[in-house]
């Protein structure tokens, strides 16, 4: 083979490899459209359950080895935040006759813990409901007929997933640094209140269920898509694979747990 031929074959191989890599392309899941009436007592919601394949035997063994290596006596999640990256793209339309504001609240579940803003709010009671979602957007005002498109970013989910695991598996009732609601009010990288029991080398579980709520002052509609980057091909898409079964425990705020 001449020098020219080698160069050209190399160029073709490079082009093919580049084309086939797909650069960790995300997958999209359409959520059901949510419509609010405005100032709803129960926030209209729509959820998505992401299905993952069960780990193979070698993968289970690898998780066990990782557990032994990390040194804290807790399960290593199969659906972990460093392998599964979630984002929501949404569009909200004001379908009322007057201006109003809205915010998107995101709850959900990891393979261990489920968090429900509405249930927590009811459990806390009081005349003024306390709304403490895992993730929330800033409130925006929309004129009648106007739309707003936005993103709940991967780093918002990363923070929400850490908070969810802290609440579920590393809950610290210490009044000086309570996990609830300290982690929900603060960004853990700015103020790690409530994170005392969380190991620094924690493998954080990613969400397997995403619940989107629309909180608005007038009637609005929210369309959204969940975007998932799946580094290790763990999403279930092959009939031959078993679906990974999860049974997360619903988080109960301390007030309710004391009852």
């Amino acid at each position: 083979m001449t020098k020219h031929s080698r160069l050209i074959v190399l160029a073709l191989a490079g082009t093919t490899a580049f084309a086939c890599s797909e650069m960790n392309a995300p997958l999209y899941f359409a959520g059901d459209t949510i419509e609010s009436m405005g100032n709803d007592e129960m926030f209209p919601t729509s959820g998505l359950l992401l299905r993952f394949r069960a780990p193979t035997e070698p993968e289970r063994m690898k998780l066990d080895m990782q557990r032994a290596a990390l040194g804290y006596d807790m399960e290593i999640p199969w659906v972990s935040r460093d392998k599964v990256h979630i984002e929501i793209t949404y569009r909200v339309t004001n379908i009322s006759d007057g201006p109003g504001s809205f915010a998107i609240l995101v709850d959900g579940a990891s393979e261990y813990t489920q968090y429900d803003t509405q249930a927590v709010s009811e459990a806390l009671g009081g005349d003024d409901p306390i709304i403490l979602p895992l993730i929330t957007t800033v409130a925006y005002t929309l004129e009648p007929g106007a739309t707003y498109s936005g993103i709940v970013r991967e780093d918002d989910f990363a923070e929400g997933e850490l908070d969810l695991d802290a609440l579920g598996r590393w809950n610290d009732a210490d009044a000086a640094s309570p996990t609830f609601a300290g982690v929900l009010i603060n960004r853990s990288d700015v103020n790690p209140i409530g994170m005392n029991l969380v190991p620094p080398n924690l493998v954080v579980p990613a969400m397997v269920q995403i619940d989107v709520r629309l909180r608005s002052t007038v009637a609005m509609r929210c369309e959204y898509y969940v975007r998932v980057r799946d580094d290790d091909d763990r999403l279930w898409h092959n009939d031959a694979d078993d679906v990974y079964q999860t049974s997360p425990t619903l988080f109960q705020p301390p007030a309710l747990m004391l009852n």
Partner: protein
Amino acid sequence: MAAALATSCLLGSAPVRAQVTSEPSAVVFPDPEKFAHGLFTEGEFGTVRFFGRAGEEISQGFAVGARLGYDIFRFFAIQAHLLGSTHQTQGDTPTAGQLMQVYQGTVEGKLTLRLVQWSFFAEGGLGAARMSTNLLYARGLATYRTGFTAGGGAGVDYHFLSRHFSIGLRGGYYWLKHVTGSSDLITTLYLRYTF
């Protein structure tokens, strides 16, 4: 006298040379027969634009591709084509602004009409197109990420006088079976090397 004889002998032994009887033509036309033909490769870049339903959702994108082919005759060649393009989703939808790539691979036949350094060609083929994400599926426009594609196009090629190299411009229109009512137009500039 001796010097004159020696000079006469030397001149007499010189080889006979052709005589120039007219001035050479100012323009030397290249002979296409001397152009290399047979195995060839092409590298290309350009744009891919979608039409139909996909055209409403996906913007025009930048494309890079390559071809490997063989001239069976001077006027007919077969070739394999790979092309990757990157796009941004558009429109008034929640998924607007997302990036996606499209990969197309086809096997093609090519007919060429050569006029000295210029040639004009028509080509057509079939193969597969793959989307990097399931975005069109999520939007209800596609059943699968990979599907059948077929189409054809035409172009013009200019041959350098270096025997192996030529450049050209081509356009091709391809039907995308797995994307509802959609097709794409590929327009590229290419550099060809014939071995």
